[in-house]
């Protein structure tokens, strides 16, 4: 069912900017149009491109936000989330916890 929903109506997660739009719903309670507009603004993209995997992969590469393919040296997991928190201007629970654990002074 996940595949069929993804094909029919999904933004596409980290293939595009689905995780970033979801971050705005999760952290700010934004409804979808507002969340898409906010993310597009922060990425310097158009709202229509939010679910485009080619356009978004370029942007994710430029901003090092984590990508679906295994690229040597590119941000993965928690380090991608550090950048996402910065780019979107939000708090991410696991990022804050990580900073606390390593005594982050940044």
């Amino acid at each position: 069912m996940a595949v069929a929903h993804g094909v029919a109506s999904g933004i596409g997660g980290i293939r595009a900017a689905g995780d970033l739009v979801a971050r705005m719903q999760v952290s700010k309670g934004m409804r979808l149009p507002e969340a898409k507009k906010y993310v597009a603004g922060k990425l310097g993209a158009s709202v229509a491109d939010i679910a485009d995997p080619v356009v978004m992969d370029e942007i994710r590469e430029d901003l090092n936000l984590g990508r679906v393919n295994a690229i040597p040296g590119a941000a993965k997991g928690i380090d991608a989330k550090f950048r996402i928190a910065e780019v979107l201007g939000i708090e991410i629970n696991s990022v804050n916890l990580f900073k606390k654990r390593v005594g982050w002074k940044g």
């Binding site: 069929a4 719903q25 679910a51």
Partner: protein, 348 residues
């Protein structure tokens, strides 16, 4: 007269004429309107649904630009149920990297807060490790499942035994006791997993045991939000209607028995829910045109008034998806597209 391929709510194929599809769509809308006292779908939306169920396409999809967020309740357990031999973290990576999930969810195979409580210390390190390796928001999810607090599964007298004997006061006293136990479990597990780094907690299949379970979940969420104001809380409902198993419970002055989704949403917003998931029952004997029209009418009444994102529960046996283990692509993509296009959902 040409006939169109469609299905009934249990997934079995049927052939319907244009007049039959139109009649079922109109009757599905009318049923929701009558039950919940909500506005009907517009004539344009009725026409849209008729055309959708007359299309010969195997799969359909929303227009470019209308894509929505996909969250997955009990995500990791679905691989176990499919007998796929992967770990929970591998399951999350498959959702993230292969299935395009926008929000991930870690869950215990016994997907209720009560059984999670004694093993939460084993769930925490899995969550901590998963959070290091994945990028999308990661929730921890479980069901309130009040049924586990009555005998023989739990400590309280079973209202199912008491009510047929006319012991109504005793049954209500049992519900009060069950509420206290379950609130304690939900706040403990929810708080513990949030402190381990979860982006949010999903209360899935809320109110499955009726108004007492809905009360307990609202109470637990209110307490969690007081302690952790930044916590994201997703509340997915069990069905379109809150059963009045207790019958006299109110929350913030609103009687819980008999609430339909748009009223459930209002209470959810009051206690601090961040994402609301309405669930509309499937009637297996009626056509999918009838079921989808009915679901869209209920859900549109939510999205029209929502101040928070609405992620409809569009899984097996709810919201226009047939009640069958092997959901057909034609049926699922029609439910997905119809609910997004008509209701302007924030997610599924």
């Amino acid at each position: 007269m040409s006939k169109f391929f469609s299905r009934t709510g249990d997934g079995f194929p049927v052939e319907m004429t244009d007049a039959e599809i139109r009649k079922d769509v109109e009757e599905g809308v009318a049923d929701a309107v009558k039950r919940a006292k909500i506005a009907p779908l517009s004539a344009d939306h009725v026409r849209y649904l008729v055309e959708l169920f007359e299309r010969p396409d195997r799969a359909v999809g929303v227009e470019r630009g209308n894509e929505v967020i996909l969250s997955y309740d009990s995500a990791t357990t679905k691989f176990k149920r499919g007998n796929v031999s992967v770990s929970k973290i591998q399951s999350l990576q498959i959702y993230e990297r292969l299935l395009g999930a926008d929000i991930l969810e870690l869950a215990h195979i016994d997907y209720s807060f009560k059984p999670v409580k004694p093993i939460v210390v084993f769930e925490q390190p899995i969550l901590e490790q998963a959070l290091l390796m994945t990028i999308p928001p990661l929730f921890y999810g479980a069901m309130p499942n009040l049924g586990l607090y009555s005998q023989p599964d739990g400590p309280c007298p079973n209202p199912g035994d008491l009510l047929p004997k006319g012991l109504i006061a005793e049954a209500r006293a049992s519900y009060a006791e069950q509420i206290a136990h379950s609130v304690k479990d939900m706040t403990y597990v929810g708080g513990t997993m949030y402190e381990a780094g979860a982006d949010g907690i999903n209360f899935d299949t809320t109110a499955a045991a009726g108004d007492a379970e809905f009360y307990a979940t609202l109470k637990a969420i209110e307490e969690l939000k007081k302690k952790y104001p930044a916590m994201c809380v997703q509340m997915g409902m069990a069905s379109e209607f809150v059963l009045g198993m207790h019958g006299e419970l109110s929350y913030n002055g609103v009687r819980l028995a008999g609430l339909y989704p748009h009223k459930q949403l209002e209470l959810a917003q009051q206690v601090g829910v961040s994402i609301f998931g309405p669930a509309i029952n499937i009637v297996p004997s009626r056509s999918l045109a009838w079921n989808t029209a009915r679901s869209a009418t209920f859900i549109k009444a939510c999205t029209d008034i929502a101040k928070i994102p609405v992620h409809a529960c569009v899984g097996m046996g709810v919201c226009g998806v047939p009640l069958t283990l092997t959901v057909p692509i034609d049926a699922l993509t029609r439910a997905s597209k119809a609910l997004v296009d008509i209701c302007r959902l924030d997610g599924l």
